[in-house]
């Protein structure tokens, strides 16, 4: 029944999906945290930059961003991110696009987490003479991170699903393989079921695991 799978690198395609997710997740966690720090910081220009970045990037479709990295950045401006061959270039461009987009959502999730830290703690930290960076790094962010594991898990799952958009610039991940298989095989329902189950296997355990962790680490108040 599943002999149509022969000749296709199904595991390879899903492995690319996982790689896209992991690299973009790390990138957007770093850049998103920096953005959140800018948005709550004392420097007005950085606050403005953070706000403008988040509001613009959130409202542009991810597809536009990803296609732009290929047509605009690579083909027009020649940005290849240090890669030699076409496959690597597209993969890195996709990671760049996904990171730029997802960071905006990470930033917003973190900012809502910062809001859950009681005002008194911040005042206490300031009374002890901690600077803004110290307050953020020692008192606020550790608690904020623990309270936003749930929302960040949602962002991560959305990111996993969003990696399919990389198919638009020819990254050989699950959605691209699905399109190819639909064209070549007369087994539409089976092909679709395989990919649906593949994504269920990626997203459901992530949600359950991180939901459990979120309950564990949440600061009880």
């Amino acid at each position: 029944m599943f002999d149509f799978l022969e000749g296709y690198d199904l595991l390879g395609a899903f492995w690319t999906t996982v790689q896209l997710t992991v690299y973009s997740a790390i990138g957007s966690l770093v850049w998103g945290t920096l953005l959140a720090a800018m948005r709550v910081g004392p420097v007005p220009l950085m606050r403005g930059f953070g706000t403008v970045y988040v509001n613009i990037v959130r409202n542009i479709p991810l597809t536009v961003i990803i296609v732009f990295t290929s047509l605009g950045l690579f083909q027009t401006l020649g940005v290849s991110l240090g890669a030699e061959d076409f496959t690597t270039v597209n993969f890195r461009l996709a990671v760049l696009g996904l990171t730029a987009y997802t960071s905006a959502f990470v930033c917003e999730a973190l900012r809502s987490g910062i809001n859950t830290v009681p005002l008194g703690q911040v005042e206490a930290a300031r009374a002890l003479g901690l600077s803004f960076t110290q307050t953020l790094r020692i008192v606020v962010l550790p608690q904020a991170f623990r309270s936003v594991v749930g929302p960040l898990a949602n962002v991560l799952i959305a990111l996993t699903k969003n990696t399919t958009v990389a198919a638009a610039i020819g990254v050989a991940e699950a959605a691209l393989l699905m399109r190819e298989m639909i064209e070549n095989e007369a087994q539409l329902l089976l092909v679709s079921a395989v990919f649906a189950v593949g994504f269920l296997c990626l997203t459901l355990p992530t949600g359950l695991l991180l939901g459990w962790i979120a309950k564990k680490v949440a600061v009880k108040r």
Partner: protein, 308 residues
């Protein structure tokens, strides 16, 4: 997650009003930041100029030639809006149905509705669109010229109906329990309670979430342009840059600006609506905020109740 208390702004709570030393330090950070951003900007502008993308000829069509708008941008924008409106119009009743089914007293109704909703929330929209496109080609006689629209709308409906089902459920659960009690006390049946008491209030309560879900739908139409040949805004970039002399960057900029303006208007409207509903004296105070959509848009976690 706890509601932030009162009108406290995170921006003003992490640091004191700056004194002389803090002001000097802030000035220094501002300078360094300006240098960093300026460096990036300079690199962008330099490489744009290097590739001749800043020439007025590349940008002029969008300001001087109405044909760009009549031939490409406006029809594309119309397709985007039509697909989004259709998807929202179909997904909302469907989502309401499934949201109510998930609150049913009968376990098997609850369980099957829950399975359907969780399934479609866990699958990427693009996979749903690819499936719908192929299914229409194989099982129906919808012509190839209208198939992309059908496929895009179908994919969007399947995904967004399941997200909206959760929003509806959150909206109903957010209503004070006294509403159901009162309806039961005057002898309403379950169906009547839902139709006359809970649902109308829930729909009002979740209006902000509905409007902000529109942003998600509008953004996802671009998938159809990139993968299915649906002629929406993103798909208009290629013909524009082919016909107006490789003005790729300019075309992307204009398309992105159109998307940002459209979605920013929707976002602003959603949060205005939310503030208005929260302020309202006559409502029950139950509001499913615009952020709820993003919080709910992830599968896998067992049924979360609405906001307290």
């Amino acid at each position: 997650m706890r509601e932030p208390k009162g009108p406290r702004e995170p921006a003003t709570l992490l640091y004191d009003v700056p004194g002389p030393r803090a002001r000097r330090r802030n000035l220094l950070s501002t300078l360094l930041f300006v240098l960093a951003v300026g460096g990036v900007l300079w690199w962008v502008v330099a490489s744009l100029a290097d590739k001749n993308q800043l020439a007025w000829a590349k940008w002029a069509p969008f300001f001087t030639d109405p044909r760009v708008w009549h031939t490409y941008l406006l029809p594309a924008l119309r397709n985007t809006v039509v697909a989004a409106a259709l998807a929202m119009g179909i997904a909302l009743p469907l989502g309401a149905l499934f949201g109510i089914a998930r609150l049913s007293d009968h376990r098997w109704v609850r369980a099957s509705a829950g399975t359907v909703v969780e399934f479609f929330r866990a699958i990427p929209v693009l996979i749903l669109m690819l499936f719908a496109n192929a299914a229409y080609a194989e099982f129906t006689d919808i012509g190839p010229e209208s198939r992309p629209l059908y496929a895009v709308v179908t994919g969007l409906v399947l995904y967004n109906a399941s997200v909206l089902a959760e929003v509806v459920r959150a909206g109903i659960l957010a209503l004070p329990a006294g509403q159901t009690d009162a309806a039961e006390a005057i002898g309403m049946r379950k169906g009547q309670t839902m139709a006359y008491v809970l649902l109308p209030q829930a729909v009002t309560a979740m209006l902000p979430a509905l409007v902000s879900q529109l942003v998600v739908i509008v953004k996802d139409t671009a998938l159809g342009g990139a993968m299915l040949g649906f002629s929406e805004l993103l798909a208009s970039v290629r013909p524009m840059s082919a016909n107006y002399g490789a003005n790729t960057i300019a075309s992307f900029t204009v398309v992105a600006v159109v998307f940002v303006v459209l979605n920013f208007a929707l976002t602003t409207f959603a949060s205005w609506l939310e503030r208005r509903l929260r302020r309202g004296k006559r409502s029950t105070g139950a509001v499913v905020g615009a952020d709820a959509v993003q919080d709910l848009a992830a599968p896998g976690e067992p049924g979360r109740p609405g906001p307290p």
